[in-house]
């Protein structure tokens, strides 16, 4: 039993660090953390292009499709180094979601058409899964696609669609049959967002930002050639996608980074003539979280070690998702406490030097939008159902 990484992995870590040191600077950091979408959106594309040029844009992809061909351990190291520097993750919809579905289940034509612009970030994707009437019960979705010659005619609505306002394409689960089980009549379509009949309705979220949308489809015509795999088999492809993400799902490195930020600010904030970090009650709250996180870090490593040894990651992903998101929310909450009154400052106000405080709006944004983490990607309650069935045999 030991925790040392293999020498080749340690050498790899150095390579990763050297890249981040040279490619990531304060300028891109400031723009990536700017809440204004007009600044943020081009910045993330610019950053993703830098990763693409280095050949590291798609850690999970096989080499033949432009991925890195890394094993889980290397992917884990890369993710950990990225997060520990506070570098935000890539936009996942193309690179982590639809890309793997296309290279796994798509035709040669689809791979050729869609994979290159995902890799070089020339095309922006969004995800059309949830509907107003289908959340945790995703298979209850009603958006229907009716065959008309070489085309489907799609009518319905998708919701919680992140960054639909920037998207060139949307991947959708649509109903092509009402026969049999509800999972059986679903197909997986790639739809051009410029198609006539698509309407985007913005949704302002609890963090006072607009990243979410409702997307309406009113008789949108989609070539049958844009269907992934077989008709009515879309559920199978979507499920494969859900199992794809298996390392770094817990976001431990991100939470550790936030915890370090909390310690930094808590040693500067003064309360009643005493540094906040020296307050016994504050220390207790901090260590409650830190100890849980120390445990989660090793739970993560245990899963990684078992995957690296050829084990199949199963319901452990659900455990990592539940504990990981609980920890994320716990650190976000503590950061809000550190911010004091300034936690309530809305974004878009004066600069920090005028305001007298530098992290309040950031704490607010991460805390408020962070509420979504236990809801999206299969709510934590759904994850518990999965563990109850798959691990406990209930």
């Amino acid at each position: 039993m030991d925790t040392a990484f293999a020498p080749e992995d340690i050498a790899f870590r150095e390579e990763v660090c050297a890249f981040f040191d040279s490619a990531y600077d304060d300028d891109i950091d400031a723009r990536l953390n700017n809440p204004d979408p007009a600044v943020f959106q081009p910045a993330i594309i610019e950053w993703q292009k830098r990763l693409f040029e280095r050949g590291w844009i798609a850690p999970g992809w096989p080499k033949e499709y432009g991925g890195t061909g890394w094993d889980d351990t290397k992917a884990f190291i890369f993710e950990t180094e990225r997060a520990s520097r506070g570098i935000r993750d890539v936009i996942p919809f193309g690179l982590k979601m639809v890309g793997p579905v296309i290279y796994t289940f798509g035709t040669d034509e689809q791979k050729e058409r869609f994979l290159p612009p995902i890799l070089n970030s020339d095309e922006w994707w969004c995800q059309g899964y949830s509907e107003p009437g289908a959340g945790s019960d995703l298979a209850a979705l009603k958006t229907r696609a009716v065959r008309d010659g070489d085309e489907y005619v799609v009518t319905g609505a998708k919701i919680w669609t992140s960054y639909a306002q920037f998207a060139d394409w949307i991947f959708c689960l649509v109903r092509t049959s009402t026969e049999g089980k509800k999972q059986a009549g679903i197909s997986f379509l790639l739809i051009d967002m410029k198609s006539p009949g698509i309407k985007i309705n913005p949704i302002v979220s609890i963090d006072a930002h607009h990243s979410l949308n409702e997307v309406e489809f009113n008789e949108v015509r989609v070539p049958v050639a844009n269907r992934i795999g077989e008709e009515n088999q879309g559920w199978t492809y979507a499920k494969a996608l859900l199992a794809h993400e298996r390392t770094a799902i817990a976001g431990v490195a991100d939470s550790k980074r936030t915890l370090e930020m909390i310690k930094h600010y808590a040693s500067q904030e003064v309360n009643g003539g005493k540094r906040l970090i020296d307050d016994a009650l504050f220390q207790q709250r901090l260590s409650d979280i830190e100890i849980d996180l120390m445990a989660l870090e090793f739970t993560d490593l245990r899963v990684l070690a078992s995957v690296a040894a050829g084990g199949a990651p199963g319901a452990e992903s659900s455990l990592l998702k539940i504990k990981g998101t609980e920890m994320q929310q716990a650190v976000q909450e503590l950061l809000m406490e550190v911010a004091g009154y300034y936690q309530g400052v809305l974004p878009g106000g004066p600069e920090a030097d005028v305001l007298g405080h530098e992290f309040g709006t950031r704490a607010f944004k991460s805390y408020m939008y962070g509420r979504a983490a236990t809801i999206y990607g299969g709510s934590n309650e759904v994850q518990k159902n999965i563990i109850a069935k798959a691990v406990l045999g209930l």
Partner: protein
């Protein structure tokens, strides 16, 4: 990076697990707990024959030369059976002090009888006022020619009544709570002036208060360096904390498994109660608590065996987590067993009580969390 046991460790684990399953069933355990001494010397002899008593000791004294992982493997399995025989008191505490601090003469004389099962030992470190602070020692040891004379009282001495040999902490200099000035002495339990009062704890353990009425021992019975006993105690307690956490992990695993099994068979409203989502989610929560505690155990044991800088922090964190996860898991185990959960007849409550005692041994959650906080944030 790997979290697998070696082939040898797997064999050791299986050997203890098989023994607990075949020769330490619940009725046997109840009978031992209710016997006069609260332990079974014949079973202890079997432990010796199976080699378990030799694990942490150096090979030159007939030991196995094992490390913290080997001890963890044994303790986890002993925990599953709520084994009462004094492995912690004799092998890890009494034996640990001799292994880490004894001089070669003491080791050659005292370690082989531990390994062959003939000597039971105990470590007397607590006093009425000391609570969890090991440095709080009022018992005195006064030099008198080539002898030391010990005077005072030690309390809640694990295995204190059954022990043949005691190691006692006493003050040779300094003030009541000073770490400096504590010394350790080897005292035969039948030495003149040793008075023992035995009593039972809720987990079935026999402990004793030991009164020392001017007990005279030769200076050669000093274990480790005079006045520097605290350091030696700290090193032994550190490993004992890991061992106790491993025992607790074994107990938590049993509690979760027994509870899960029960909810699959117990029927109410015409169905197995395990079909209710309200109960399923609670069992998922206890499953996650167990996994988290186990992860910290692995973290701490790796930190200790690799001699990492933060090993002390990792062990304090582990003890905090064991307390938290333990209370969560035994609480749910009792609740999900319904009325049966609060009976003495069912084993669930006994697992709970052992976890509760573990969580007082060498400090409770608040104690360890305060130490963790001081190391990490001050």
């Amino acid at each position: 990076m790997n979290f697998e046991f070696t082939e040898e460790q797997v064999m050791l684990r299986d050997s203890v697990a098989r023994y607990v399953q075949d020769d330490y069933d619940w009725d046997t355990r109840v009978a031992i707990a209710n016997s006069e001494t609260g332990i079974d010397r014949a079973k202890w002899q079997t432990f010796a024959e199976l080699g378990w008593l030799s694990i942490p000791f150096a090979e030159e004294y007939g030991g196995f030369g094992g490390d913290a992982v080997d001890v963890m493997v044994v303790m986890e399995e002993l925990g599953k059976g709520l084994v009462l025989e004094p492995y912690l008191a004799t092998v890890l505490l009494y034996g640990g002090l001799l292994q880490k601090g004894g001089n070669p003469e003491q080791q050659a004389a005292q370690i082989p009888p531990i390994i062959d099962g003939s000597t039971l030992g105990a470590f007397a470190y607590l006093e009425r006022q000391s609570r969890y602070e090991i440095a709080d020692v009022k018992t005195t040891a006064t030099a008198d020619g080539d002898n030391f004379v010990l005077k005072g009282e030690k309390v809640v001495v694990f295995n204190g009544a059954n022990a043949d040999q005691l190691i006692v902490s006493a003050r040779t200099s300094g003030a009541q709570s000073d770490e400096q000035g504590i010394s350790l002495f080897l005292i035969p339990a039948d030495a003149a002036g040793v008075e023992r009062v035995s009593y039972r704890m809720m987990d079935g353990q026999r402990v004793a208060n030991v009164v020392l009425n001017d007990v005279t021992v030769p200076a050669s019975n000093l274990v480790g360096t005079q006045d520097a006993g605290h350091e030696l105690i700290a090193a032994v307690v550190q490993e004992a904390n890991l061992a106790l956490a491993a025992e607790a992990i074994g107990i938590m695993q049993q509690l979760n498994a027994k509870t899960l099994e029960y909810t699959k068979t117990r029927e109410q409203f015409g169905v197995a109660i395990g079909s209710f989502q309200a109960l399923q989610h609670r069992m998922v929560d206890t499953f996650m608590s167990f996994e988290q505690a186990k992860s910290l155990l692995y973290r701490a044991v790796c930190a200790l065996t690799d001699d990492q800088e933060d090993e002390v922090q990792a062990i304090h964190a582990l003890r905090v987590m064991v307390d938290k996860a333990g209370k969560h898991i035994f609480g749910e185990a009792i609740q999900l067993h319904g009325g049966m959960g609060i009976t003495d007849e069912l084993d669930i409550g006994h697992y709970a009580k052992r976890l509760m005692m573990i969580n007082t041994t060498f400090g409770n959650r608040d104690y360890h969390q305060a130490k963790f906080n001081a190391l990490r944030y001050n």
